[in-house]
């Protein structure tokens, strides 16, 4: 299969897969937590949190990327301490691409998980509490198993979104082949060179295939949620 793509193309695909995988995995716990809080808790500032989570969906990606640069860049408000204390540098590294992808994919992930949590009858959670389960156990033994397909659907959507992320990524970590050149960045780069169209087109097909696969998978898992919550 490696023969189908030039080393440069292959590098971009492999990097995109790696970035998407880590962005999905690292944001998933936060996604579940935020989705649970938004679905089940009432608190002051809930709308603010909701807005913050969804902001990357609405903002121009270049703005999100720039904000990430301001915050997590080497001289950024958080970035300088990450560098000083932990030696972690995100800007212009593939790890930064992970962060950018995670932030951009977060709203989609939270949305899918939140909908599945809202589909779980709170009365089942009450019943679990009367049987002696503390709130954490209720979540682990009742809520989580019931929303598992929704969580997977959210993760798949997040993965697909991360695969396609372009604007924030290129702003935050630039477009360095082999380091930060993800699939969309590579397509963009190929389109900038004369005669790069066929290469770009091959990558476009890969992007379409990944997105399509993810959508079908998440749709199918979404139906599994409904089946699971209402019983087989």
């Amino acid at each position: 299969m490696a023969d189908w793509f030039s080393p440069g193309e292959w590098q971009a695909i492999a990097l995109s897969l790696r970035v998407s995988f880590w962005s999905m995995l690292l944001s998933l716990p936060f996604g579940i937590l935020v989705a649970h809080v938004l679905a089940r808790r009432e608190f002051w500032g809930k709308q603010v949190l909701n807005g913050l989570v969804h902001l990357p969906l609405i903002l121009p990606p270049v703005v999100t990327g720039y904000l990430l640069l301001l915050t997590f860049g080497r001289k950024g408000s958080v970035g300088q301490y990450l560098d000083q204390w932990f030696g972690i540098v995100l800007a212009f590294k593939w790890t930064g691409a992970v962060l950018a992808a995670a932030v951009m994919a977060f709203p989609l992930m939270v949305r899918a998980i939140r909908l599945s949590i809202e589909a779980v009858d709170p009365k089942l959670e009450q019943a679990a509490a009367t049987l002696g389960a503390s709130p954490v156990w209720v979540f682990l033994t009742v809520t989580l198993p019931l929303i598992l397909p929704g969580v997977i659907a959210g993760a798949v959507l997040g993965f697909a979104k991360a695969m396609g992320e372009f604007g924030a990524t290129i702003t935050f970590v630039s477009n360095i082949p082999g380091q930060t050149q993800t699939l969309p960045s590579a397509i963009y780069a190929f389109l900038q060179v004369p005669g790069g169209d066929p290469q770009a087109f091959r990558l476009v097909l890969v992007a379409i295939a990944v997105a399509m696969l993810a959508l079908i998978l998440s749709e199918w898992l979404g139906r599994a949620v409904a089946r699971r919550v209402s019983g087989p």
Partner: protein, 360 residues
Amino acid sequence: MTLSVTLGHKFAGFTLDVAFEAPRGVTALFGRSGSGKSTVINAVAGLLHPDRGRVASDDQVLLDVARNINLPVHKRHLGYVFQEGRLFPHLTVRQNLAYGRWFAGRGAGDFDRIVTILDIAPLLQRRPATLSGGEKQRVAIGRALLNRPRILLMDEPLAALDEARKAEILPYIEGLRDQMDIPILYVSHSLAEVARLASHIVVLNAGRVVRQGSVAEVLSDPAAVPDLGLRDAGAFLTATLAAQDADGLTRLDTTAGPIWLPRIAAALGTTLRIRVAAQDVMLSRTRPEGLSALNILPATVAALRLGEGPGALVQLKVGDDLLLARITRRSAATLDLQTGTAVFAVLKAVAVAPADIGMP
């Protein structure tokens, strides 16, 4: 074990203010919908936090607002059987049953016994979605009991079931009531269920306790009828199954004499509680003859209450039991009924439905 409950809570347009005690056995919380029954049971469970009140089971305090004690739901050691069962759809019956037992964290000895009492062994591998309503409720009851509760709460556990399914489950509830040494709070709006299961009754109306006491006394009290509902009024006789006659009738001995009812499938010597609706009791000053009704018991009038309409309610002492008869004021006058008047109570054998016969 006694559960004592004092609660006060203000809702929009509704104030709850109740106090009662529930000893070992079944205490019925009875009232119309909206009277506050479910609110009370949810406050006992800890699913609702009242403005003030105290809930304690013997020396174990579950809630004391004044002393700032409020055990969270999962630490109250309850069994709660909900109207809709609320079985976990992603778990098998066996896993549902194991759920409460696991958190109770104690021995496994009860499992087989409770599975046997509730007759759910054949269901263990199934998922809740494939169970009938009656089966679901039996599993829900089993799940609550395997939590080794100190208090059992049942919120209209039969309300969602049809008559046949109710009849299927009632004997199981009677069985566990007799085997569990804990207070059982049983929310119901069905007097027939209350008469069958409960030893105590707390009648709620608009958030207040309007009457409480032993079921035998409250159900036979003419003054309580307006709170309980005239149509369902009726008390019960305690009887021992004495013989199965060849013509399909069963002879029962009450403390006032024998009565005959259509065949009751129970062993000789079984003690039964037979609910007799007030409107199915006729009165006569002399022992009637040439009458098709088989069951004629000597009685004395214990209390008389004339209604505002044409009706009257008569409390009768029948042997050791108290019955209620609903007659017209005109009849009461014609028969010259007074407290202490000796009469004969005439019961029609076929008026007693099988669902009205239970174990006391």
